[in-house]
Subunit: 887 residues, 2 copies
C-alpha cells in the first residue's frame, strides 16, 4: 500500500518519488525545503493517495487514516514538545489544501486547530495574551463553520455586530468576558440555528477539517475551473498540516517575501521586504516594513530574525532551482521559518537580464537561458509602453493590432495627418478602416486606431510592418468623419484632441499619457548572441522602405524575405502613374505609364540592395487587384479624374468594371502578370537594373530573388518566369554585366501545396504565404472574420486565432506535405515563410520542425524570431538527444 | 527496309500492320475495302515510310522510289489493261494525299494524271467525247500548276476569259480547236510568264506531283493546324494513287453517299442518295438525284449500277465496323466503285436510337452501346433547340450557361418579369447579373440573359438548377436599365421586343425563332435502363422546389443530394420573415421571426419527402451570408424599411454592418449556425416535424439527412450536431414517433480535407461541394474569374474551366485524400458530390474512380449523370479485366 502520510521537519523529510503528484504544490515545497535543511515548521502531508481512497471526497475518510493521523500528531507532539488538547503548551496546527495547481473553490487554510474552550484559556495564560488567544479561537470557529458547515460569513458578522452593540465595544471585544460572551454566542448560533456543533476534541476537529478539505475538491467553482483549464478531475488533492507559527502575535513576529536577486541589475542580492506585527496591529499603526537588502547591509542586529541566515537560505533555494528564488517566510516570536519557495516572476526586461546573469554566474548554460525567455514578451522591449502607475481613462478597447503605445492629436484623414505632422505635431490617425491610399498617413502618424477590422486587417498588417502602434476594431467608438467627431458613449472627441492608444493591450485612452521608451541594453544584445549561436533557421524581414530595411538590419535580419512592391506605388507621382497604367486602353498605353514607374522602382531597389549589402533580397511582383489603386470615394474620384485628365464617367466606368465580389480570390497575383505581362517585365527590369547598379556601387554582387505570387498552376510560374528570364537576358546584354538571380514563388494556395512537386521543378525557392494560405484553407476572409471568430474563441471551437499562430493540424499539415513534395523533386530548394506568422514564436517552432530554411517577419519582430528559432533548435536538439539515449 | 508502297485492288490488298499510321486515312480505307472484296478502283499507296525517307517533304523523293513507282504503274497497267502514255486506252490516275487526320494546307486531289498533248487526243477518240477529254486535261494542267508551281488560280481564269472573248465562247470552249487554243495558251503562260513547263511524260508528272504532295505537309496552313490541334509534326503523310473513274462523264456515271441505316428509325436500311452526270452536266439541268432507299425498293433496274449490290457492300461495311456505315461511292460508265467508308456521324437523338437498335440487332452489347454515346450530348435531348434551317441574326455571343433555347419579350427586372408573365406572355429576363432576389423573376421567365458573369455565376447556377436556358457574360451588349434599352452595336432593343437565346451555344438572337421541342422516346428510356444496369454510383438531384423534385424523379433521380434551404427564403412572406430575423436585436427577436418560417419550411419539406417517397433527402442548413437577404438598391431599401416597419437609417446601418469584403469567405455556412444556433434549431425542427408528418401520410418512414455546410473544424460539426440531436430528441418526445435521421457535412474547404479523418468520426455522410472547394483550392472567386480565366484558356495555362470539370491534379487529389482519410476512421461513411460537377461526365468519371457512392446534380442533368456513371463503371470494369488478364 502506498504511503498515506509524509512527515517533514528541518533536515528530515520523507519524500515520495513524485512529490508534486503525491503532495501537491505546498506539501511538495515544504518537504523540499525541509530536505534542503532549511527551517520549516514541522508537520506532515496527507497524500493524494489517501484522497483517492476517499474517492476524491465522495466518501468519508478511510478508517486507517484516523490511526495514521493520530500517529503523526503524536510524532509532532514529540518534535514540538507541545501536546494536542494538552493541559499546558497546547499544540496548535495549520491545515492547508495542497493541489498541484491552485484553483478557486478549494478549502482555504484553517489555522489554530487544537483550540477549544479549554485550550484557549491555557494558551492565553501561556502567552500572557488573552486577546491573541481568543482572536485565534474566534477565527478557528468561523473558519471551521464555514468549511465544515458551509455557514454564511455574514451571519457571524451580524452576531458580532449585535454583541458589539450590546457590550459596547468596537472592532473586537474589549475584555476576556466580552470574548467569552462572543464565543458562546457563536457556538449557540451553530447549535440553535444550524443544529451543529464544532467538536471540542481537537483530534475530531482535525479529522472533520481534513474530510471537508477533501470534499472541497468537488465544489462547483473548483469543478468549473478544472473544466475550463482542462485539469483532469482525478488529478488529486493532498492536505498539508504543520504546527502553527504565531507570526501575527507581536513585534517579534511577522511575514515577508524575499528574492535572490536585485531585479534592477540581475546580480545576486537578497531583496524583498517583510512586515513585523499582525494585521490587527497594522491597523493600529504599530507595524514596521523592513527592506531586506538594507537590513542585510546594516548587519541586521536589531531585527527579530537573523537576516544573514535568511540570505543563506534564499541562496540555497536559488542554487537548487537554478533560477530566481522567491521565498515566503514567517517569523514567530523571533524564530524564522520558510513557508514556500518558487521560481520568481519577472518582467520581460528582467527576464533577459536574469538569463544573461545566470549564464555569467555559471548557474545555467546558454541554451537554458534562451528557453527561459518568453519570446513574445520581447515585443514589450522593442516599443514604447504606457507608464502604468499614472491614472488614465480607458474610453474603449479594440484589438491589440500592433504593439507599442502612442500619444497624439486625433486626425480623421491621411491628408490631414500629413498636414499636421508636417508642422511637427504628433498625430494618431483614426479611421473606420484603412486602405492602401492611407499608407502615407500611417507613415507620418504616431499610431493608428480603426473602428473596424481585426488583427490582420490592412491597418494592422501595415502598422506592424512599419512598427507603428495600432488598435483595430474599437467597435464601441462611433466615428463621424463628416462632423469630425469621435463618440465614446456620451463623450465626444474632436479633431485635434489628444488621445493615447496602447497597441499591446488594445486600450484607447483619453488624453495624453506618459510613455516609457525602451532601451536595448547590453544584456539584450548578449541574449541575441546566444540565440544566433543556437538557431538553425535564418531570420529575414518583410520590408519595403529603406527605414524598415535599416531597422530590420539593426534588429539582426539576415536579408529581406518579402518586399511588397505594391506598397511602393501608393505615394504621389507613383499612384498617378499606376492609375494611368490601369486606365490605359492597350498594352502600349500601359507600357508608357510603366516606363514612368521604372526609374522610381529601380531607385527603391538600389537603396534596398545597398542597405542589405549582399544579403538576399526577395522582391514580390505586383500582387493586389488593380482596383486597390483606384479611388473609391466620390470626391476622390472627381479629384483623380481631373488630376489624370480623364473623363469622370469613364473613370467611374473603369472602377466599376474592376470591382470584384471577392477581391481576395480575384484578379491579382500572377494572374495580373499573365493578363498584363508588361507589368512583370517592367518590374523585373527595375530589379535587374538596380542589381547591376547596386553591385557596381558597393562592389559586392547582388543576387536578387524574384517572387511570383499566388501561383496555383506550374504553367503560371512557367509563363511569368519565361518573361523574367527574357528581361534578365536583355539587361545582361545591355549592361554587359554578369548577373545571377533566382526566381521562386509564394506558396499560398492549397492547389500549389498539392502540386508542390511539379511547381518546385520550376522554382529556385518557395516562400509560404501563411496569411492567404490560412484564408483559403479555412475559407475565411481575414477582413470579415471578426464577426464570428470571437464566437468561435468563446465557444472553444478554436483555441487561438489561426491568423496569429499557424493552425498546425490543418494549414501546418499542408505545409508539411508541400515541403516533402518540393524536396522530393528538388532537394536543395530554399523554403521560407513570409506571412505574418513568420514573427510568431509558436508558429516559428512549427516552421523549424517542418524543416524550413528561414522565416521572414516585420522588422520589429526580428529579435523575437531569432529567439524563437533558437528555442526551436534547442527543443529539437533535446528531443533528438532524448531519442538517442533511448536507443 | 519497310515496304514503301502497298498496292490494292478488289479482293487483294497488301496491308501493313498499322494501316492508319502507314497509309493515312484514305489509303487505309481503300486497302480495307479492297480486302473486304468490295469494288474499289485498283491502285496503290505510297506509305509514310517513304515520306519519312524524304524527310517529311524537306528533301526530294528518295531515288529508289522512282523505280518502285514504275513497277507499280506497270502492275496497274496490267490490271486495268490500259497503258500510261499509251497509244490507245491511256491509263489515267488520281493522286490524293492521305494523312491520319484531314487538315487544311495538304495537297488536294490531282486527277487525270497521264494526260498530255498526245494522250488527250487519244482519249477523246476512245470515248468519242473530245469535250470531256479536254476538260479533264485543262483541269490537270491547272491543278498541276497550282500544286507544283504554286500559281495563282485567278491567272488561269483571266487567260480563259481572254480566250473566251477572242474566240467568242462562254462557259467552256465550244470546239476542239478552241480547246486546243486554250490549252496552248495555258502552257505558254507557264513557260513565258513563270518560266516553267509541265512535263509531257506522265511518269514525270506523277513523280513531281508526289513530291509536291509530300512538301505540302510543310505548308503554313498545315503547320498552323497541327500546332493548334497538338498533332505531332512527324505524324506522317501517305499518297494514294488509283486509276481514274470517269464519274462525271455521262448519265451512266455519278457519285453518292450511302448509309447502312434509316436514321429516323435506326433500323437496317440502305439510305442516302446519288447524283448522275457531271457537275457540268448538272448546270445544264441534265442531272438526276436518286434516293437510294427508293431505288432499292423499286428493284433498281433503270439505274446505271446495281443498287442491290451497293446495299450488300454497305451492309458488309457495317458488319465490319459494328456501327453505322457511311460509304462514298462512284459510278463510272455503269461500273460501281467504293471510294471511302467511315463510321457515320449522327445527332444526339440518332446516336441513342442507333445504339439501342445495334443492341437489338445483336451487333453490340449494352456496355458498348453506352460507351458510344457522348453523355454531354444528351443535354440536347432534354431541352428545346433552335430550328437551325431558318435564318436569324445573331446579335451577340455569351457563355453557354444553361442549355436550351428560349424566345420571349425582353424585360429588365424580375418584378416586370412577374407582371408580364402573369398576363400569360413569355419573357426573357435581361440583367447585368442576377442576385438571389431575382429568383422569382427567373422562375417565371423563359430564359435568362446576363451581361456579366460566367458559367458558374449566380444566374448560371440557378438557371441550370431550374432548367431554364441561360446565356451569361454577353459583354458586347450594353444594358441601360434606366432608359430600358439594350444596345448591340448600333442596334437598339427595348423592353417588350422579342429576343431569342440559345443556352447551348451562347447565341443571342434578334426576334423570335422557331423552337423544336424534344421528346424522350422509348429508345432513350431503353438506353437509361442499360445505364442503370451498368452503373455503380447512385445519382441524386439538387432540388428545392416540388417542380424540380418531380422533374428529377421523372429523370430517374434516386433521391435528393442537396436541398439549399436558402432558396426557399426569397419569396414574399418568407423574405420578410428572414429580414425580420436578421434585423432582430437579440435571440428572442430572431426566434420570433424564425417561428413564422417554421410552418412554411415544414410544409416545403413535407412535399419534398412525399415526392421522394422514402428515397434519401439531404437538406442543407442555411448557407449564404445574411446580407444576401437584405435589399441593396436605394429604392429597395426604402421599400423594405416601410414594409418591415423599421427606420430606413437603421436598416441601412444593419446592411452596412453586414457588408463583407469577401462574402464567399465570410460569415456563412455553419458559422451562422454557431453565431445563431436558433436558426439551425428551427430548421432542424421543420425537417424533423416534416419527416414525422410525411411518414404518417405515406406510411413509409422518412430518414432525413441534415447537412452542415462549410465545416473546417470537427468542433464546428460537433457544436451544430449537438443542437440538431437535441431538437430531434424533443420532436421524438413531442410526437411520440420513432425517428431516424442522419447528420453529415459538406466537404468544401481544404481544411476539412486535411481533417477528414476526425470530421468523419462525427459525420454519417460527406458531400463534396466542388464549387466552393474549387474556389478555395485555386483561390479563385468564380464570380470574378471571368476577367482572367479566358486569358488562361487562350494561353493554354488551363485546359478547361475547373468549375465545369473537376481539376483532377489539384482538387481531385484532395478529394482522394479526403476519401481515404474518411474511410480510415469510418469505413461505411457515405460519400457523395453535390457541386455543379456532379452533372459533368468527365468529372463523374473521376468521382467513380475515387470511389464515391453517389453524385447529385440539377434535375436536367440526371440522365447525363446516369449515363456517365455507367460509362465510368464500364471503363473501370474493362481496366480491371485488363488488369486481371495481365496478371
Amino acid at each position: 500500500m502506498p504511503q498515506r502520510i509524509f512527515p517533514f521537519q528541518k533536515g528530515r523529510a520523507e519524500r515520495p518519488a513524485d512529490p508534486l503528484e503525491s503532495l501537491g504544490l505546498k506539501g511538495a515545497d515544504l518537504s523540499l525545503l525541509a530536505s534542503l535543511n532549511l527551517p520549516v515548521p514541522p508537520g506532515f502531508t496527507i497524500s493524494t493517495y489517501a484522497w483517492r481512497e476517499a474517492k476524491g471526497g465522495r466518501d468519508d475518510l478511510p478508517m486507517g487514516l484516523r490511526a495514521d493521523l493520530r500517529d503523526q500528531v503524536e510524532a509532532l507532539e514529540e518534535v514540538t514538545g507541545r501536546r494536542f488538547d494538552g493541559d499546558r503548551r497546547p499544540l496548535l496546527l495549520a491545515v492547508r489544501s495542497s493541489a498541484k495547481t491552485a484553483m478557486p473553490g478549494l478549502a482555504e487554510s484553517v489555522l489554530d486547530v487544537g483550540l477549544n474552550g479549554r485550550t484557549v484559556e491555557i494558551l492565553a495564560e501561556e502567552l500572557d495574551d488573552a486577546t491573541f488567544a481568543f482572536r485565534s479561537y474566534r477565527r478557528l470557529i468561523e473558519s471551521y463553520a464555514q468549511l465544515v458547515f458551509d455557514t454564511d460569513p455574514t451571519d457571524f458578522e451580524e452576531i458580532a455586530d449585535e454583541e458589539a452593540g450590546e457590550k459596547g465595544w468596537t472592532g473586537e471585544p474589549a475584555s476576556i468576558d466580552d470574548w467569552r460572551s462572543l464565543i458562546a454566542r457563536l457556538n449557540a448560533f451553530l447549535a440553535d440555528e444550524l443544529d451543529v456543533v464544532m467538536p471540542q476534541t481537537p483530534f475530531e476537529q482535525l479529522v472533520e477539517i481534513v474530510n471537508a478539505v477533501f470534499k472541497s475538491w468537488r465544489s462547483a467553482p473548483a469543478q468549473a475551473y478544472r473544466a475550463l483549464h482542462g485539469i483532469p478531475e482525478n488529478s488529486g488533492l493532498a492536505v498539508t498540516i504543520h504546527s502553527m507559527i504565531f507570526n501575527e502575535r507581536n513585534a517579534q513576529s511577522g511575514r515577508g517575501r524575499a528574492l535572490s536577486r536585485d531585479m534592477a541589475t540581475g546580480r545576486p542580492q537578497l531583496t524583498g521586504e517583510f512586515q513585523l506585527g499582525s494585521g490587527h496591529v497594522l491597523r493600529n499603526g504599530e507595524h514596521r516594513t523592513i527592506d531586506l537588502a538594507g537590513a542585510l547591509a546594516d548587519g541586521g542586529s536589531d531585527y527579530p530574525a537573523d537576516i544573514a541566515d535568511l540570505d543563506d537560505h534564499v541562496r540555497a533555494v536559488e542554487a537548487y532551482l537554478g533560477d530566481l528564488a522567491e521565498v515566503e517566510f514567517m517569523i514567530g516570536d523571533g524564530e524564522l521559518f520558510l513557508l514556500q519557495s518558487r521560481v520568481g516572476r519577472r518582467s520581460a526586461s528582467e527576464a533577459v537580464r536574469l538569463a544573461v546573469e545566470f549564464v555569467r554566474d555559471g548557474l545555467i548554460d546558454e541554451a537554458e537561458a534562451l528557453t527561459r525567455i518568453d519570446a513574445t514578451s520581447l515585443d514589450q522591449l522593442l516599443h514604447p509602453s504606457i507608464q502604468r502607475d499614472e491614472s488614465f481613462v480607458v474610453m474603449a478597447r479594440g484589438m491589440p493590432a500592433s504593439p507599442g503605445a502612442a500619444t497624439g492629436e486625433i486626425v480623421f484623414s491621411s491628408d490631414r495627418a500629413q498636414a499636421v505632422a508636417a508642422e511637427g505635431r504628433k498625430v494618431i490617425l483614426v479611421r473606420h478602416e484603412t486602405f492602401p491610399e492611407d499608407i502615407h498617413g500611417m507613415h507620418v502618424s504616431e499610431g493608428v486606431l480603426t473602428i473596424r477590422g481585426g488583427t490582420t486587417s490592412h491597418a494592422a498588417v501595415v502598422a506592424r510592418g512599419i512598427g507603428k502602434p495600432c488598435v483595430t476594431g474599437a467597435g464601441t467608438l462611433r466615428l463621424n468623419a463628416a462632423t469630425g467627431e469621435l463618440h465614446a458613449g456620451n463623450k465626444v472627441l474632436r479633431q485635434g484632441d489628444a488621445i493615447t492608444i496602447d497597441g499591446a493591450s488594445g486600450e484607447v485612452i483619453e488624453g495624453a499619457v506618459t510613455l516609457v521608451r525602451p532601451s536595448l541594453d547590453g544584456d539584450f544584445a548578449t541574449l541575441m548572441e546566444f540565440a544566433d549561436r543556437a538557431r538553425q533557421m535564418k531570420v529575414r524581414t518583410n520590408a519595403e522602405t529603406p527605414a524598415e530595411a535599416r531597422a530590420a538590419r539593426d534588429f539582426g535580419a539576415e536579408g529581406i524575405g518579402l518586399t511588397r512592391t505594391e506598397h511602393m506605388f501608393f505615394e504621389g507621382d507613383r499612384v498617378r502613374a499606376m492609375r494611368e497604367m490601369i486606365l490605359a486602353s492597350d498594352e502600349n498605353g500601359r507600357r508608357a505609364a510603366l516606363e514612368k514607374l521604372l526609374p522610381i522602382q529601380r531607385a527603391d531597389f538600389v537603396e534596398l540592395f545597398e542597405i542589405m549589402a549582399g544579403l538576399p533580397v526577395t522582391i514580390r511582383l505586383l500582387d493586389p487587384p488593380l482596383h486597390e489603386f483606384l479611388p473609391q470615394a466620390e470626391n476622390d474620384i472627381d479629384e483623380a479624374a481631373e488630376f489624370l485628365g480623364v473623363n469622370v464617367s469613364s473613370l467611374r466606368e473603369r472602377i466599376a468594371a474592376l470591382q470584384e465580389f471577392n477581391p481576395m480570390l480575384g484578379h491579382r497575383g500572377c494572374r495580373l502578370a499573365i493578363s498584363y505581362p508588361e507589368i512583370a517585365e517592367v518590374q523585373s527590369r527595375a530589379i535587374f537594373e538596380a542589381a547591376v547598379e547596386a553591385g557596381a556601387k558597393t562592389g559586392a554582387a547582388v543576387t536578387p530573388e524574384i517572387m511570383v505570387p499566388l501561383v496555383s498552376l506550374r504553367r503560371e510560374l512557367d509563363f511569368v518566369k519565361e518573361r523574367i528570364d527574357a528581361v534578365a537576358a536583355q539587361v545582361i546584354e545591355e549592361t554587359g554585366t554578369k548577373l545571377t538571380y533566382r526566381v521562386g514563388t509564394m506558396i499560398e494556395l492549397p492547389r500549389a501545396i498539392v502540386r508542390a512537386d511539379t511547381i518546385a521543378e520550376a522554382a529556385d525557392f518557395f516562400s509560404f504565404g501563411t496569411n492567404d494560405l490560412t484564408q483559403t484553407v479555412f475559407g475565411i476572409s481575414r477582413d470579415d472574420a471578426g464577426t464570428f471568430l470571437s464566437t468561435y474563441v468563446r465557444e472553444g471551437i478554436v483555441e487561438r486565432d489561426p491568423f496569429q499562430t499557424v493552425d498546425v493540424e490543418g494549414v501546418g499539415e499542408l505545409i508539411q506535405i508541400a515541403v516533402e513534395k518540393a524536396r522530393r523533386t528538388k532537394p536543395d530548394i530554399e523554403l521560407g515563410v513570409c506571412g505574418e506568422q513568420g514573427g510568431d514564436p509558436a508558429s516559428i517552432a512549427f516552421f523549424a520542425e517542418a524543416g524550413l530554411d528561414y522565416v521572414s517577419c516585420s522588422p520589429f519582430r526580428v529579435p523575437i524570431a531569432r529567439l524563437a528559432a533558437a528555442q526551436a533548435a534547442i527543443r529539437e536538439g533535446r528531443i533528438t538527444r532524448g531519442g538517442r539515449s533511448r536507443r
